[in-house]
């Protein structure tokens, strides 16, 4: 962005580089989330309940061969991990709606700041939060009795995949926020998507135990891709179509990012 030609008559106006802008946007959001840490912390209550409740209630399912013989809790943790970042990511857009309502967004848009730096800075903050949440979920899972034979490497794969999934939903949430500019629209839309995305995937149940139509939906559900890759990482046995699933998630993350950047530009055109 620093190579944009300024018209000749202007005396050189100092401009910050893309990385500085990105860094300052990130600094703002991170400072803000450190001071309001109860938000991300509260969103961890749900996975704790899921793990403890589901882990106990459905423990007997673990003996079924479809669960791979390691017990239900081992099967459940990667599902809860992805669910946590999904829920958390779907809220990412609320920050933009606050900025639009307060006037901070106007300030950004009337400054020579790269639009992609605005999106990237906030996305980076969201990914840092989701990474922290992921680590906590893995810890809670371990306390709940889950074990991760995939080792450190496998855990890193699971965390990476969780970040990809978080990026997809953060970007989508940001784009929806910038387009609708309404907290209510954003919340209802994410409610509409998040729950079916979870239950029409293999987060809780292996495909073999689900009706055929759900199997068909689940196969193409990015949530399934993320859960199976994460499960592969934690257990050490990756799914056959793992590379395709990883490629699919990466592609969606890139598309989501482009959509979010386009939305911020569209927002400016519409005011």
């Amino acid at each position: 962005m620093s190579t944009i030609a300024l018209p000749g008559t202007l005396t050189s106006v100092p401009r910050s580089g893309w990385f500085t802008q990105f860094g300052q946007v990130l600094r703002r959001w991170l400072t803000s989330s450190i001071r309001q840490v109860w938000g991300p912390a509260m969103s961890l209550i749900q996975p704790i309940i899921w793990i403890l409740l589901f882990g106990q209630v459905f423990a007997s399912l673990g003996v079924l061969p479809q669960f791979g013989g390691d017990g239900y809790i081992d099967y459940l943790v990667p599902g809860i991990l992805m669910m946590t970042v999904l829920y958390s990511g779907a809220w990412a857009g609320t920050g933009y709606i606050d900025d639009i309502n307060s006037g901070v967004m106007d300030q950004y848009l009337t400054s020579p700041i790269s639009r992609s730096a605005i999106i990237s800075g906030q996305l980076a903050q969201q990914l840092i939060i989701s990474l922290a949440q992921s680590l906590v979920v893995l810890g809670i899972g371990w306390l709940g009795g889950a074990r991760y034979p995939g080792g450190i490497g496998g855990m890193l794969v699971a965390l990476g995949v969780a970040s990809l999934l978080a990026a997809i939903f953060c970007c989508a949430s940001s784009a929806v926020a910038l387009i609708t500019r309404s907290q209510i629209a954003l919340i209802s839309l994410s409610q509409l998507i998040v729950l079916p995305a979870t239950f029409l995937s293999t987060a809780m149940m292996p495909a073999d135990l689900m009706p055929e139509w759900v199997q068909n939906v689940a196969r193409w559900n990015p949530m399934t891709w993320a859960v199976e890759l994460g499960r592969g990482g934690l257990s050490g046995t990756y799914p056959e179509s793992g590379w395709w699933q990883a490629a699919g998630l990466t592609l969606l993350a890139v598309l989501g990012f482009v959509w979010a950047v386009r939305s911020i530009r569209a927002y400016q055109r519409s005011v």
Partner: protein, 344 residues
């Protein structure tokens, strides 16, 4: 560069802005061919009632919005084609807040400075300097969410000045402030206007504010320019004095009928909003008119409060050119108070 860089800080030429209607709502013509120029180093007041097009104009000049047609240059750069260059030299204080409430005042200013290309040391020094100047030094480590409305507004202005802009846009900077905070803000703006290199574009619907701060005024109504000039010129364009009577629970038709036979009144306006109302008129001979108006209202049994005669104020200018009292009392109750205050 095109030849339009004639030394003016701002050149707006035939700006129009149409917001497309939705469903059965018709299109809104927020600007309808607005043209004006602003000389560098001056305080330029954009004055008009709510919905006149002041904010739309500001949004276009700050590159936040684009005009439907027409062109504008700010500091020699076209707002549409060279928007990045415009953004580099303007500061914008919108009606909202421009700072993050969870961050401290200092953090907000430092981040603004870094974003604008300063290194960490420069940004810190600039932030400290501005916090001193705006009387916020003691509060610099407090979160902005704990600030009063006046402090917040001053911080917004400080944030807009971080990068030493050449043109500063202030969109209704004192709306919602209490009288003391407003006076402080006026002093700040006057101090800024003393800085030669800075051009200030101020939108307001407070007559008194425009009168005190602006070197040059443009009255807008319905998205069009009504009249432009210095506050003095505009007031001088009106002859005679103005008479104002504040009314209590008025019936406008009855008031109009009561004073219809008073000789020598012109530009008669009677307005009511809730329990308050105002009668305003112009006259060549204030002393004769005041007595006659009071007598006429008494005879008709109309209740009234303060009666005042004065030299023309910008309220009268507005009344003369636009035809109703300034501001929309039903939307902003404060404007009624300002109106009577200015007349008294």
């Amino acid at each position: 560069m095109p030849a339009n860089n004639s030394g003016n800080a701002i050149v707006a030429d035939s700006l129009t802005k149409v917001y497309a209607g939705r469903g059965r709502r018709p299109d809104v013509h927020a600007l309808d061919g607005l043209s004006f120029t602003v000389a560098p180093g001056t305080v330029f007041g954009l004055l008009g009632p709510n919905g006149a097009g002041k904010s739309t104009t500001t949004r276009i000049l700050t590159t936040l919005s684009t005009p439907t047609s027409g062109t504008a240059q700010v500091a020699g750069s076209d707002v549409r084609r060279e928007s990045e260059a415009v953004r580099g030299v303007i500061g914008y204080v919108s009606q909202g807040s421009s700072t993050d409430p969870v961050l401290t005042a200092r953090e907000n200013l430092e981040i603004a400075g870094r974003m604008r290309g300063m290194n960490a040391v420069e940004a810190r020094a600039r932030a400290r300097r501005l916090l001193d100047e705006f009387g916020l030094a003691e509060a610099s480590r407090r979160r902005v969410s704990t600030f009063s409305g006046g402090m917040r507004r001053r911080l917004d202005v400080a944030a807009a000045l971080v990068h030493r802009p050449r043109v500063l846009f202030l969109d209704e900077p004192t709306t919602g402030l209490d009288p003391e905070a407003r006076a402080t803000m006026w002093a700040e703006i006057r101090r800024l206007s003393g800085e030669e290199a800075l051009t200030v574009v101020l939108t307001t619907h407070y007559m008194e504010e425009a009168d005190r701060l602006a070197d040059e005024l443009l009255l807008v109504n319905g998205g069009r320019a009504v009249v432009q000039g210095t506050p003095k010129q505009l007031k001088a364009a009106l002859h005679g004095d103005s008479v104002r009577v504040s009314l209590i629970e008025p019936d406008p038709a009855a008031v109009r009928a009561a004073v219809a036979r008073v000789p020598g009144l012109s530009d008669l306006v009677v307005e009511a909003s809730g329990v308050d109302g105002v009668l305003a008129a112009r006259t060549e001979d204030a002393s004769a008119a005041v007595g006659a108006v009071i007598a006429a209202l008494d005879v008709a049994g109309i209740r009234f409060g303060q009666v005042a005669a004065s030299h023309p104020t910008l309220d009268d200018v507005y009344l003369h050119f636009v035809g109703h009292t300034f501001g929309d009392s039903s939307i902003d109750p404060r404007s009624a108070a300002v109106t009577t205050g200015a007349a008294a």
